[in-house]
């Protein structure tokens, strides 16, 4: 049992591992564990009692009940604990396995924190293993490509400058068919709100920009979207372990907002981007607080609905269930606001169990879905736990305010034939709101 028994071929993993030498591996180990990491890694390593209490926390180990190599402590034991035990003297083959575990078998969702009496942060350990692998270039092909895109064009999807502006104007054009006076204001200095999205929105979920524009327009808000780099709030560099680029991306995002002198940034329904601006990127930059306030969509919609800027004449009449994305619930405590928003939109809500901060992960986040097709079966098999939980609700609609969660949940819904449909809050609000300014 262990990662060696389930190796999956990936182009870059194989190429990068072929170039490794014991010296390179040792140097990367020293850099990460002695140069960068500090007291947390050291105390976690020494205080982890190997008690196995975290085994019941992880969707991977719940989904593979007979295989202890999928438990959080099992994964740490095969990666960071092994590196420390062997003082960085591991083989290239072992590095391959470590990369496969860190990038494709741990979403860094931190559910295991709720199970560890000592208070060990397994997600943090995984991020250090990824940093080690990244320093050796041992990163799965697909996610490495998105990180390269960030480095080259400051967005995740190789969206060129003119394509970005063109996508916004295209959506404005489309929306003007429904709302004649609608604008997607670009580069408006001093606007109340700067709306930022992740690059997959212009790339393949463009309707979300249409919906956001419609909601802003109906609510009569003073808003703008940026035309220049920094518009993409996503961050795959954070997930590959490229901390330097993670810092550049976040700085670019905040500086773009400061250049436009906006009051605050509202971000789309994304989990990992929020983690990046609120939890990881800011730490790398040494920002305790954000230079420009950032508001997640869940909070923003809550504001619009409670202040009556958006009115819902008739609620969604089919029962729905709520998926709590880890980055904004375990990461930011939006459990209550999310529920309040969903209850303002839907007649009947069937809760999953466990839920709220104990939510079971979608198994797409943490960069796993971005590792691409070679690893799809890993995350689908690794999240039978969530599929069972969804099936138990017996409802047809699932609200999940996070792009990655949508991707992961749609895959398990398809694979386990659950016959459910996923919804963003924006989908529901756009569908249900009173459209006083529509034609």
């Amino acid at each position: 049992m262990g990662i060696a028994d389930r190796r999956i071929e990936d182009g870059n993993l194989m190429q990068a591992v072929a170039k490794l030498t014991p010296e390179k591996i040792k140097a990367a180990y020293e850099l990460v564990t002695k140069g960068e990491a500090g007291a947390r890694l050291s105390t976690y390593y020494q205080s982890c009692m190997r008690c196995g209490m975290c085994a019941q926390a992880c969707h991977f180990s719940i989904s593979h009940p007979d295989d202890p190599s999928y438990t959080p402590v099992g994964k740490m034991d095969q990666t960071m604990w092994k590196l420390i035990r062997q003082k960085g003297e591991v083989t290239p083959d072992e590095v391959y396995g470590m990369a496969q575990i860190a990038y494709t078998e741990c979403n860094m969702c931190k559910r295991c924190v709720h199970y560890c009496p000592v208070g060990i942060d397994t997600g943090f350990i995984t991020s250090l293993v990824r940093r080690f692998c990244y320093r050796l270039g041992v990163v799965p092909t697909y996610i490495l490509d998105t990180a390269h895109s960030h480095s080259a064009v400051m967005n995740q999807m190789w969206v060129k400058q003119d394509e970005w502006i063109d996508s916004l104007i295209w959506q404005e054009d489309e929306a003007r068919g429904e709302f004649p006076n609608l604008r997607v204001p670009l580069e408006k200095e001093g606007a109340e709100i700067l709306y930022s999205v992740i690059a997959p929105e212009p790339k393949f979920r463009t309707q979300l920009i249409y919906q956001a524009a419609a909601i802003m327009h109906e609510a009569g808000l003073d808003w703008t979207m940026p035309a220049l780099p920094g518009w993409d709030n996503s961050d795959m560099c954070m997930f590959v372990g490229d901390s330097e680029m993670m810092g550049r991306l976040k700085r670019c995002h905040y500086e773009m907002a400061q250049r436009l002198k906006v009051k605050r940034i509202v971000m789309g329904e994304c989990g990992h981007a929020f983690r990046s601006v609120y939890d990881t990127g800011n730490r790398w930059l040494g920002f305790k607080d954000w230079p420009v306030p950032v508001v997640h969509s869940v909070e923003f919609f809550w504001e619009l609905l409670t202040t009556g800027k958006i009115k819902i004449p008739k609620k969604f009449d089919k029962p729905v269930t709520i998926h709590d994305p880890c980055n904004i619930t375990r990461g930011y405590g939006l459990m209550d606001k999310l529920r309040e928003v969903v209850h303002m939109l839907c007649d009947k809500v069937v809760e999953m169990s466990p839920n709220r901060e104990h939510t079971i992960c979608c198994c797409a986040g943490g960069g796993i879905i971005n590792c691409g097709p070679p690893f799809k079966s890993v995350r689908v098999a690794g999240n039978k736990a969530k599929a069972d939980q969804l099936a138990a609700t017996g409802v047809e609609y699932l609200v999940a305010p996070c792009h990655n969660c949508h991707g992961g949940l749609e895959d398990i819904i398809g694979h386990y034939k659950l016959g459910m449909h996923t919804k963003f809050l924006g989908d529901l609000i756009y569908q249900l709101m009173e459209k006083t300014r529509a034609e």
Partner: protein, 219 residues
């Protein structure tokens, strides 16, 4: 053997205390210094309120998701640590030592209760060993180090029990009790047993990060 016993309960005991105290202070100090050098976010996020909220919550049996999901482990862990601490401070033999060395006449456990608590600790050690052998998730990550510290902690209790029951050579058992307990003291700052000194800090940090930054409980 008597000479060795006198040595073990005299100079060796003081040396063990000294190594334990100095080692613990040094380990904690160096971790604090390391955190200050490398992880200022730890300082930025640390909060007394959230730290104690988390520590008290996790000191409550069945008060957290982890304890609820592992009921046998919860009973075993709490019983083990509680009995261990009670015996350490208030075992009748230890009370005599308090009196002899420091002139402190402290309350001590009745003999029958001390014996019972010793058996509980021994049973808990057996339970932990059983888990290491039979529970796949635990067996998979168990190393020699884990066995060594479990054995080390087990020795003072089994020897005390055998000495009390006058099974085997009582002087030898008592000597074994003293020596192994001293070994535990010395091992605390430098082995997996260091969770005894570090877990209040790791718990406090996790409580602070979840409470103050993540705005949700860490249990």
């Amino acid at each position: 053997m008597q000479t060795l016993y006198n040595f073990a309960t005299g100079p060796l005991l003081w040396a063990s205390f000294a190594i334990f105290l100095a080692g613990s202070v040094w380990r904690i100090y160096s971790m604090i210094a390391l955190a200050r050098k490398k992880e200022m976010s730890v300082y930025a996020y640390m909060s007394w309120g959230f730290s104690f909220r988390s520590i008290f919550r996790w000191l409550t049996p069945f008060g957290t998701l982890g304890w609820k999901a592992n009921p046998a482990m919860t009973v075993g862990t709490f019983a083990f640590h509680l009995c261990l601490l009670l015996l350490l401070l208030f075992a009748p033999g230890h009370a005599e030592m308090w009196d002899y060395n420091f002139g402190l006449a402290i309350w001590s456990l009745p003999e029958w209760l001390a014996d019972t608590l010793t058996v509980v600790v021994i049973a808990c050690c057996a339970f932990f060993a059983f888990r290491r052998l039979r529970v796949p998730a635990v067996r998979y990550v168990t190393t020699t180090h884990d066995w060594a510290v479990l054995l080390l902690v087990f020795l003072p209790f089994i020897s005390a029990f055998l000495a009390k029951m006058q099974l085997g050579n009582t002087l030898f058992m008592t000597l074994l009790h003293v020596l192994s307990a001293e070994a535990v003291l010395i091992a605390i700052p430098f082995t997996r047993l260091s969770h005894a000194i570090f877990s209040p800090f790791t718990r406090a940090y996790m409580g602070s990060e979840f409470g103050g930054v993540r705005h949700c409980p860490d249990w």
